[in-house]
């Protein structure tokens, strides 16, 4: 059974800084978070007030990110931040064609980015959003804002995407078929 515990002061400070970067500190500052320790991975879980009092469960709340040297949001975390705040400076907006490709796990070409903040740095985590401003994936910038829109080059590496589950399901099905042959 996984272990849940309250956040330490340092962890909460690190999380608060990240929430600030993602533009949701004011909205999230009163929320409850627990740490779920899975082997060496520290997962940050958002829980309701009542759940914060319980710790004997195998799964609790929504995993919004992981703590390493910094807080890194999960896809669900980034989605929550975007739905809560509506706007922040850590995103790239892609066109419809790129949206389909991202949902197949493909990286993002500079040509297909239709909007990105002018403050993006190289090698940072960004939410990949569609034209409805919905988070469809998480990516890492290969360039800063001056080069992120350049044509003919992959400028965002897709780390996770909302289509992953369907692909996992297909893999599981084909693995079962292979085993049964």
């Amino acid at each position: 059974m996984s272990q849940y515990r309250k956040m330490t002061r340092d962890e909460r400070t690190m999380l608060n800084r990240a929430l600030d970067r993602w533009g949701v500190f004011e909205i999230m500052k009163e929320k409850n978070f627990l740490i779920k320790q899975d082997d060496n991975v520290k997962k940050v879980c958002l829980v309701s007030d009542e759940q914060a009092l319980l710790q004997q469960f195998c799964e609790s709340g929504l995993v919004i990110g992981e703590m390493t040297k910094q807080f890194a949001p999960t896809l669900q975390g980034a989605d929550l931040f975007f739905r809560s705040a509506g706007c922040n400076n850590l995103y790239v907006k892609v066109n419809e064609n790129a949206e389909k490709l991202v949902l197949y796990g493909r990286d993002v070409m500079g040509d297909s980015i239709i909007d990105a903040p002018k403050t993006l740095s190289e090698n940072v985590l960004v939410a990949i959003i569609n034209s409805n401003r919905e988070v469809i994936g998480l990516g890492r910038t290969r360039f800063g804002s001056d080069l992120v829109l350049q044509k003919g080059k992959i400028t965002i590496t897709t780390i996770s995407d909302a289509g992953q589950y369907l692909r996992d399901e297909d893999d599981e099905k084909s693995a079962k078929m292979t085993r049964s042959r």
Partner: protein, 328 residues
Amino acid sequence: MAAEDKDRFSMTAIFPESARSLSLASRYGYDPWLVGRFLQYIPDIDGFLSKMERPPTKYIRVNTIKTGKKELSGRLKSKGFILADTEIPEVLSVKNTPLPLGATNEYLLGQYYIQDLASCMAVEALDVLPDQAVLDMAAAPGGKTSFIAQRMNNTGMVVALEPNKKRTRSLVFNLSRLGIYNTSICSIDGEKAADLGIKFDRVLLDAPCSCEGVIAKDPTRKTNHKPEDIDFCAKKQEILIESAIKVAKPGGLIVYSTCSFAPEENEAIINKALQKFRIELEPINHGNEGLTEFAGIKFDPSLRNTRRFYPHINDTTGFFVARIRVKS
């Protein structure tokens, strides 16, 4: 109820074969014993058997945590979906799909969940309120659990029990995709719910059952369903409902549901609980009245307050729902 009647439901009632039951069984490919039973408790049997030959109507539940009903239906309609309102505001029936329901971007983004209307009726009957403590005793894959959490707007506490580790995985995924964060999952059997040491305002027991109501989805049940299955499920259901009553707060609500038509798994279970515990049945707005008599045995008249959903009448999968109030 006479003493000998009390134990009568420990064995599934089988009725003598008739020319009609044999003819219908042969025409639609069922085991005759099953049609013989259906003739006793399903109205308009021809309509029912014919309906079970057609694919069931599909429904989606709008995830109001992530989007609005108008917004989602507008987007799906622009892709060629034909949708219609139902008795439950969040649920839309899907009349036409240009692509599989589980393959749209909206689905992947957790904006809706594919869920039968009858299944949503169980949550509707549970009447959850924000900030309550709610127990879902058999949670995977999470359709009802996530609807409960959605109705509570991610407040309070939902405890979802699921002893099967494999099924827990799909439960975790679905809750995550739908953006639910007021739910905890516990890998214990519903029989041991009291071990949690918590009393709940609401308890949902969607009991494991013989699944007679989903024959349209799984036609193999026409012949691989056996009377012993009903016996086996009824025994388990009796234990689970006792467990549910024990963890509910005085004045709290329990909803008992199954996707079976068998009275031994439905009215008979509730009837026994009514005799044993300080509980009462409350009416439900939708569906058809429950049975007050089966196989010559009379149930408590308040069993009329339970509800049956029939595919050919309600356009849902077959379902049974009882709303039980624990007396203060």
